[in-house]
Each structure stands twice: as C-alpha cells, then as structure tokens.
Amino acid sequence: MITLLSSRHRRTLGGYAFIAPWLLGFLLLTLGPMLASVALSFSSWTMLSPPSWVGLVNFERIIADDPLFLRSLWNTAYYVVLAVPLTVGLGLVLALLLNQPLKGMTAFRTIFFLPSVTNMVAVSVLWLWVFNPEFGLLNRALALVGVEGPLWLQSEAWAKPSLVLMSLWGVGGTMMVFLAALQGIPTELYEAADLDGAGSYRKFLHVTLPMISPALFFSVVIGIIGSFQVFTQAFVMTGTAQPGSEGGPNNATLFYVLYLYKKAFQEFKMGYASALAWILFFVVLAFTMIQTRLARRWVHYEGGDR
C-alpha cells in the first residue's frame, strides 16, 4: 500500500519513524507520568489501597501544617544562595586564570575539572573523612595553626556550610562553560580597547563581561536548578545505617528533594510527595522566569535580540 502514498506523505511518515523513539518516550515517560502526577497530587495514596481524591488537602497541609516542608525549603534556599554565587564566582576566576597565554594550561584544566566528573557517592565518602571532626583533613590542618575546628557535618550550624564547601570542589563544569565563552571572544575587541587606551580592569568590565554574559546567565540558571535538586551528598553524608536517619543533625541537611524522597520511598505517601514535586516545579519555574526577565537587562547576545 505504501506505493499509493505520495512522496510527501512518505516523507512525513519517514520523519515520524525516525523521531518515533523520542515521541513515544515523551508520551509514555514524560507526558503520561506528568498528568498522573497532577492527579496524584490531589489524592491520598500509600500504594496499598486505591488512591482517593482529596482535592487540595495535600497542598493545604504542606503549606499550613508541615514544619519539615518549611525547614527543607529553608535549608535548600540557604544552600542555593551560598552555593550558586560561590560556584559561579570561583568558576569564573579559574576560567580567567586558565585563559592566560601560559604553558601547562591543559594540566591545570584537568586538575580543576576532574573532581566534577567523579562519582558523587565516592566523593561524598571522601569528604566524609575530610570533615571528620577528630581525624579529618580539615580539622587536622586547622589544629596545625592552633584553631579548633567545628564539628562540620555533625554540627547543626556547620552542616550546610560544609556541603557548600564541598560543592565548590565540583566547580569544574561551570568553569568549562566560562572557559569556552572566554575563548570565543574575538581578539579584535581587545585590540580595539587597547587603542582606546583601556586598562585591564576596564577591558574586563566592558569587553569580557558583556561577551560572556550568556554563559554567566546559563551558569546561574543551571546552577539554581541543580542546587534546588541537591540530594546525593546529603543522603550519603548525613545518613547512618538506619533508614530515615538522612538529613541530620536535627534536620539541618534535610533538603527539599531529600524530604520528597523520604515521603515517597520511605513513607510511601505518594500523593503528598507528588504535591511536593509540583511545588518544587513551580518554585524552580518562577526562578527561571525571573532570571530570564532580568536577563534582558544584562545579557548581551551577539547580533542583537534573540
């Protein structure tokens, strides 16, 4: 029958045949689950009996009557506010250093980048030992200069800053994005600035920064989305053998996705957890939209508006 089809229809069929894997995946693994998740967020369900429709009850309970929700939101906001600017700042500094015309840059680049591709569970285990209050690297080093270090992960006040510190070790990805952007700046721009008598500070402010602003924007947006979903390090580094012990001490590292995971896969409150997931979605979406709106003022795209 295929011969009866015009060549245009055949081409259409061919096109859909090629993208079929993604299209099927979109329907079965994204759109379907999304709709199911919306329905679940308005239901009460522990997977034992059929789900029952409860309307807005999950959302009401989360917002009005769940101190752990507020705690996890606060913990996550704290982490995002510290980790994102520090990572972006350090990533930019390292990229600027690597962009200097010196020998041996490939080796330095490898050293800076390597931690960011290593296994997060193994990295967490390594830092667990670095942070050990008595025998860890940090407090041994601090003791050398006569400072008694904090309890790090075991202290309610220091647990989150510890994880932020550790996140800086994974700055490599951000750094590479900046490095690619820096290397894409045409040298003529700097030559023109030289002719105008601009010093290095002014060249940075008026040539480098505008030229890398798309990369800066990208890093901030991706950094915020990623930091809102921080999970593995908190799960591995704050839990003991006891399931449910993750997120301590005293919920200081109970991040949003960790809380969501516990609700869904330790307490099997699937409806409640789905509602939590949609709240996360809208919080992240709001941040991304605010960013995009603000970006019009400071992000400079080559060749005008895009």
């Binding site: 081409r11 061919g14 096109g15 859909y16 090629f18 993208i19 894997p21 993604w22 099927l24 995946g25 979109f26 994204t30 379907g32 689950p33 999304m34 998740s37 679940l40 997977m47 390292l94 250093l97 010196l102 330095f108 490898t110 050293i111 390597l114 931690p115 591709v117 290593t118 296994n119 997060m120 569970v121 193994a122 285990v125 830092w127 667990l128 030992w129 690297l137 590479m176 690619a180 952007a181 798309p214 990369a215 990208f218 947006v221 979903q229 799960f235 591995v236 003991t240 053998a241 006891q242 996705v257 869904a264 699937m270 957890a273 789905s274 997931a277 949609w278 996360l280 979605f281 992240v284």
Partner: protein
Amino acid sequence: MTHPTRSRPALQHLARTVILYGLLVAFSALFLVPVLWMISASLQDQQGVFASPYAWIPASPRWDNYATVTTIFPFWRYLANTLLITLSVTAATLLSCSLVAYGFARLRFPGRDVLFALCLSTMMLPGQVTMIPLYVMFARLGWVDTFLPLIVPALFGTPFYIFLLRQFFLTIPQEYDEAALLDGASHLRIYWSIVMPLARPALATVALFTFVGAWNDFFGPLVYINSPQNATLTLGLNMLKAQITGTGLVEWQVLMAGALLVMLPNVAVFLLSQKHFVKGLAVGGLRG
C-alpha cells in the same frame, strides 16, 4: 618617573607570570590535596588513619586494603552489574538519540519544529515531577529490583543528546544525502552509512557523557534496586559507608580504598578522552 624604563615591561611581565602560576598552583593544591589525603588514607593500617601526627606516606603501605575491600562487599558482582547497566544505557542512548536527531536534522515533515521545541523544553522539567508515576508504572510491570527501569528509558532518547547530535548533523552537507537519494538509497541507509560515520566525534562525546552519567547514577539504583545482589557500585559503596557510620564494622582505610576503586574507571575514561568532553561542554554551554 626617572627610573630606567627599558626593563620595566619585562619585569612586569615576569612578575605577572609568577603571580599567575602561583595562583594556579595554589588552586591546584586545593583540588588535589583531598585526593592525596584519600590515597594516603587508603594505604594506612588501623592505627595509621587515626595517628597524630599524621604520616602522609605510611612506613609500610597496606596495599591489601584494596584486596580487603573487594571481599567485604561483592565488589566484582557490583562492578559487573554497573558495567552491564552502563554499557546498555550507552548503546541504547547512542542508537535512539542519533535516530531522532537524524529525523530532526535531515528530514522535513509537518510539526517538526514544534516537536523539536517540545523536546528541548522537556530538559527543563525536574525529574521529581515524573518520578513517582514512573516508579508506580515500573512497579506494575514487575520491573522493580531489575535493571530494566534503569536501561529501558534510554531506548527513548535523551533530549540534551538529541539536541547535541542534531546540531552536529546539521553541519554535514545535505548534498551527500541528495546524491545518495538519487542513487535510490533509503534514509535509513543514509543515516547508517553516511551520517553516522561522519558524526563519530559527536557520537563519542555523547557516549562519554552517557557513560559517566550512568556510572555515577545513584538516585535510579537507590529507588529501583532492593536486593543486595542487584546493587550497583554506587549503591554498594553507600551500604559500605553505612556500616562505618552505623556500626563501625568497616574501617576507614578500607572504605577509602573502596571509594577510590569506584572513582577510578570514569576518571580513567575522562583522562583518555578529554578532548571529546571539552568539545561537548562547549556546545552545551553555548546553548544558553
């Protein structure tokens, strides 16, 4: 200024170089010292890890910590599980993403651009939104505690890699296709015999990213794998860690040896193929 000015630029240049190298070395130390600390710990004996003052290079390095760690948890079994999952995911991703990317890059059909935009927009969707229904679905299929929930989704492509490959396919001249079509070749044939061989660098980038991503995956195995014999290396390492913080049954030097063994493969993969990595990141970064 009355100073002789001839050597000043040269001196300034030298000072600048020294400062830059100083900064680079200082930062490198910050990145390397934790790793050295880990290697050092993995070679200590029971007393050495806790000793004060600490000997970075132990008098008699305990290489057998590495042998010990492979026996106190089923390391080889977990390695085999992880390799099976990682290689399947990589193969499935390469195949599905390249087919889809070919469709989006080389064929013209109604709805194509809308669908491509839709594909890109799903990258922004946090996984938590679909996680619970997916878990329920895989549980209904009886796939929980098998590798299937970790592998099968890769057959349906990953938006970011579809995007990456599509961008690369667009740079391959259309004339090749047209000539082949005139010769009566099908699109499937052009995809396989013309476009895929030319796209090897981009495919290598996608393969590397996928391999490292699947190797490092923790959340997927954590949610879907229950029985110890089906665990992956990341899951196994976490169980090993739970024993040290919970019961003290495992010793730190042995745990460090285990963590190093888990880190090693993708560090090696990365070091051997940096070029492809860097290229892929550059494309990824510029999409903003």
